[in-house]
């Protein structure tokens, strides 16, 4: 793990370290010198300057104190980023261990440097900074990227598991540790019950999402995924609420004064805090969604609105001592759906990326701080406490997992298997949350704070490294996948085909659970909420919005890099091909296998694969675009050639009916009369050469036609090997003629986009004519047309 990772970024890192060392040496000198003059005054710089007024003005001077805090924080973040670059350069590493491992190592490194140079680390972490600035971005990111539909489908199980699980873990660990503390031999008798309970609550805050990336490829099934995600989401909130309640208890005079009434009050407070927080979050979510409805003209402030309102929900909840974490989570979940429809595409991307950036900066800082405090003098090592903490963490997690899931399985339609439960148990990796809470324990109430911090650190290190690294192999082992066997090309192709098939059939079957409740909510949503919260004239179809995102620039790029040009489509090559069996060498086979594995389309995953540290939407979007473009082309080809169904049925008049507009479509779209000649069907004859995509520069139509005709000529030859029984009218003239008529057809692809980019009048008629033809013939979905007409109407 060490060497290959260190090598890529070592030059920069050593440089940085040297710089840091130099600065820290310089600053420690400066510290000693300025200590004698002005002590930590904000204007120490100016004081020094004024005292030098009688001396010569120095040309070069070093003033480190002034910039120390931001300087060092920036260096830390940069260091962590460089480490991440190195981590991902060696592409096998992310699959081996979670990224938290990396951050901890970097933190330990920085801690070692600071310790080694005897430098005072900047006060990055104290209670207010953590709770006000570092924690909200992390929680916001978790809430925003949560897939809502599976969450709400499994919400019963998730609440049951996350809520009760956290409580069971906290109280279980606390009580067991208290019992251990009673044993005089360990020297822990001064740790009373409340302190143990508090420790239990903070150590039970897990961060299982950190390990999700490790077993991502193992195709964890959706409910399991949601369990892990939901637990991570709610766990932080619950631990913090518990922590605060228990701190409030600890602040009360003496332990013996606590009566059952207080305990009941505590429970009631727990519920109120939770529910109140969620309530606040939902309100703020709706407000921000409503405001984004009106931001068309200043889309630059859209991300600002989103972030500020989420943050405001957090602060507002915290004002009333409600749970800010749950508030910000609820806000993110509520506003996401409506905001994503309202904001522009660039704002949407900005929001996503900025959220990731903020949360990863926060987490990096926390981990580095953790590393810094690891290597220091403030530890208290107590073998018994630490070992028993580790043991009890595992035991209680196992108990809570198996007991709670046993109960919830009785009520689920698709119960969780033992394998799933084992995965959930093993993914109980602690993270930055526990450390922060431990670090922020008030020393006055916790005289043995150092021991708690040490124990927390040990648990975190253990779970992150050992569990994090071994969970990958464990999941793969449980999955019993034959990944080691070398599959023949045949098998690989067929396997991928079957995966696609299965995904497609699953889509046909649709989502099944709790459809009644969901339907009711959807109706309510459509009737009231959407009208208030989203802008008008939104194309409802996801296909159209996907095309909107296919920007002209990207299309031009695609052509320029030669990806989609099929003039290299060697048709004569195909016709001449002899069916001779060529003996292929193993290297050829290997290279073929490589080509296949790298280039075959990924099966669409039903849950968005969530990676805490990275956003990887590009591949699937590109893939989806390619598939859609290809599909459009094949539909177009099938129309043009007058194909009917591939099973030999001749094109009959029956099919013409399907060319007319689908039933009950309210908008009459101007149909080109030539369209009726085409007796096509919408079956995609993907047998035809399908990768043909001509970019249409926005110049004259004549150029387009000539461009179109040339490749069209090659089609009859290409069409010959198709053995289908349809009546083939393959006269070249007809094809050329069809080509000429065809010339305008692909234009709508861009004109749909054009309308977005330039509201030029000159494209209007062509757009509507082309658009009508396009929509009349291609008809991939009814929504297309409903949404297409608003596009046309807007003109």
């Amino acid at each position: 793990m060490g060497f290959p990772m260190l090598v890529p970024f070592s030059p920069w890192c050593w440089l940085l370290l040297l710089v840091v060392l130099k600065c820290s040496e310089a600053s420690s000198d400066l510290n000693k010198s300025t200590n004698s003059t002005a002590q930590h005054e904000p204007n120490v710089r100016f004081a020094a300057a004024s005292s030098e007024a009688d001396e010569k003005i120095s040309v070069f001077a070093l003033d480190y104190d002034y910039v120390q805090i931001p300087y060092e924080v920036t260096l830390w973040i940069l260091l962590a980023s460089l480490a991440k670059i190195g981590f991902h350069l060696y592409h096998r590493l992310p699959g081996l261990m979670p990224e938290s491992c990396l951050l901890i190592i970097v933190g330990a490194l920085v801690g070692a440097i600071i310790f080694g140079t005897d430098h005072k680390s900047p006060p990055v972490m104290d209670s207010s900074i953590y709770f006000l600035y570092l924690l909200p971005p992390i929680v916001l990111e978790g809430g925003y990227f949560m897939p809502t539909r599976p969450f709400f489908e499994n919400i019963g199980s998730i609440l049951w598991w996350a809520g009760l699980g956290a409580l069971i873990n906290a109280f279980g660990i606390g009580l067991s540790l208290y019992l251990i503390c009673q044993i005089k031999a360990f020297g822990l008798t001064d740790v009373n019950l409340l302190q143990n309970l508090l420790f239990g609550s903070l150590i039970s805050a897990v961060d299982p999402v950190a390990v999700l990336a490790v077993f991502e490829e193992a195709r964890v099934n959706e409910p399991l995924y949601m369990m892990i995600f939901g637990e991570a989401l709610l766990n932080d909130g619950i631990s913090v609420v518990l922590y605060n309640i228990l701190i409030a208890f600890t602040k009360m005079h003496k332990f013996e004064d606590i009566e059952p009434v207080d305990i009941l009050a505590g429970c009631a407070r727990f519920i109120i805090v939770g529910v109140g927080g969620v309530f606040f979050g939902i309100i703020f979510g709706f407000i921000s969604a409503f405001i984004t409805r009106f931001t068309q003209n200043i889309s630059a402030i859209e991300p600002l609105i989103v972030f500020m309102f989420s943050y405001l929900s957090y602060l507002a909840a915290e004002t009333l001592y409600l749970s800010g974490i749950l508030a910000i989570t609820a806000c993110a979940v509520t506003m996401k759906k409506y905001v994503e429809e309202n904001v522009s595409q660039t704002s949407y991307t900005t929001i996503k990326y900025f959220m990731k950036m903020l949360s990863s900066v926060s987490e990096t800082l926390i981990f580095i701080f953790m590393g810094v405090s690891t290597i220091g003098k403030n530890h208290e090592w107590n073998w018994a406490f630490i070992c028993f903490t580790l043991v009890f963490c595992q035991i209680w997690r196992a108990i809570s997992v198996f007991a709670l899931f046993y109960v919830s399985n009785q009520f689920r339609t698709f119960p969780f298997s033992i394998k799933d439960q084992c995965i959930i148990f093993y993914s109980g990796v602690r993270g930055a949350g526990s450390f922060s809470l431990a670090f922020l324990l008030p020393l006055s109430l916790f005289p043995r704070k150092k021991m708690f911090v040490t124990a927390t650190l040990v648990v975190i290190y253990f779970t992150v490294f050992i569990q994090g690294i071994t969970i990958g192999p464990l999941v793969r082992y449980l999955d019993v996948r034959k990944t080691n066997k070398k599959e023949s090309i045949n098998e690989e192709l067929h396997i991928r085909l079957m995966d696609h098939l299965k995904a497609g059939i699953e889509d046909v079957c649709g989502q099944w659970s709790h459809y009644q409740v969901r339907d009711k909510f959807k109706k309510f949503d459509h009737r009231y909420l959407r009208k208030i919260l989203t802008r008008k004239n939104q194309p409802k179809s996801s296909i159209v919005s996907l095309y909107k995102k296919l920007e002209m620039k990207q299309a031009i790029e695609m052509v320029e890099t030669g990806i989609l040009s099929s003039t290299a489509f060697s048709v004569p090559h195909q016709a001449q091909r002899i069916h001779g069996t060529k003996r292929l060498s193993p290297e050829d086979v290997e290279s073929m296998r490589d080509i296949l594995t790298h280039n075959m389309y990924q099966v669409r995953q039903r849950t968005l694969s969530y990676n805490k540290y990275n956003l990887k939407p590009q591949t699937s979007e590109k893939q989806a675009k390619e598939i859609l473009i290809r599909r459009q082309n094949t539909l177009r080809e099938s129309m043009r050639k007058g194909h009917s169904l591939p099973w030999g049925k001749p094109a009959g008049t029956k099919n013409i009916r399907y060319l007319s507009f689908p039933y009950g479509h309210p908008q009459p779209i101007r149909r080109d009369p030539k369209v009726a000649d085409f007796t096509g069907d919408d079956s995609s004859d993907s047998e035809l050469p399908s990768i043909m995509f001509k970019p249409y520069p926005r110049t004259g139509t004549l150029k387009k036609e000539t461009q179109e005709i040339i490749p069209m000529k090659s089609f009859p030859r290409g069409g010959k090997p198709c053995h289908f029984g349809y009546p083939r009218n393959t006269s070249q003239e007809e094809h050329v003629g069809a080509g000429r008529r065809e010339a305008l057809r692909p234009k709508p692809l861009f004109h749909a986009v054009d309308e977005e980019f330039e509201s030029g009048e000159e494209s209007e008629e062509e757009a509507s004519a082309g658009g009508s033809r396009w929509s009349a013939e291609h008809r991939p979905s009814k929504q297309y047309h409903r949404s297409h007409s608003p596009l046309l109407q807007r003109k």
Partner: protein, 189 residues
């Protein structure tokens, strides 16, 4: 109830447990936008997720066998019945005189075979294999690479040297694969 009103049947669909059949019916009704009582291609094409599936059109075509333009509920169920998980205790008690259940391994493989073999001649020709490959592969792969991969694929599976893959050869090439598990959808149980 639904089973009686069909004309073009070969064998009755499997008896499915009540709840999943009911859910399939609700799904059928939800897909059937105009309450026609049957589904047409357009209805299935409106499933957005299918549009970005590389095999989307072929999957839709498989619901309309023999060139039909409509599929009613029994037909819908019949196709989906291929994807039911195989119950181990079913196979033991099966009466050999009855037709094989739709979710047997053989029938699942036949379903997959029909995705390749569009002209229904019982063989996957080289050309048909090429078409499928082209559908499933990104645009960066050149034509020559695709052709050589196709050649290799057909070559691996073809045993009698006719340059095409028959159904038996197809099943043979997949004999090591756990088809039952791969082509099973849990919710259809």
């Amino acid at each position: 109830m639904w089973l009686s009103s069909k004309k073009q049947t070969k064998k009755p669909p499997n008896v499915q447990p009540e709840t999943s059949l009911l859910r399939l019916y609700h799904r059928f009704r939800a897909l059937d936008r105009n309450k026609k009582g049957y589904l047409s291609r357009v209805d299935l094409q409106q499933i957005g997720a299918l549009a970005v599936n590389p095999l989307g059109e072929r999957i839709i075509d498989s619901f309309f066998p023999d060139g039909n333009l409509r599929v009613d509920f029994p037909g819908f169920v019949r196709v989906l019945a291929h994807f039911r998980p195989v119950d181990d205790d079913d196979s033991g008690m099966r009466d050999p005189k009855q037709p094989e259940p739709l979710n047997s391994r053989m029938n699942k493989l036949r379903f997959v075979f029909q995705l390749y073999d569009l002209d229904r001649d019982g063989k996957i020709s080289r050309h048909e294999m090429l078409q499928v490959l082209r559908l499933m592969v990104g645009v960066q792969v050149t034509e020559e690479q695709l052709e050589s991969i196709t050649d290799r694929t057909v070559q691996e599976a073809d045993e009698d040297g006719d340059g095409a893959v028959s159904f038996l050869e197809f099943t043979k090439s997949l004999e090591k694969m756990d088809i039952e598990q791969k082509m099973s959808i849990r919710i259809l149980k």
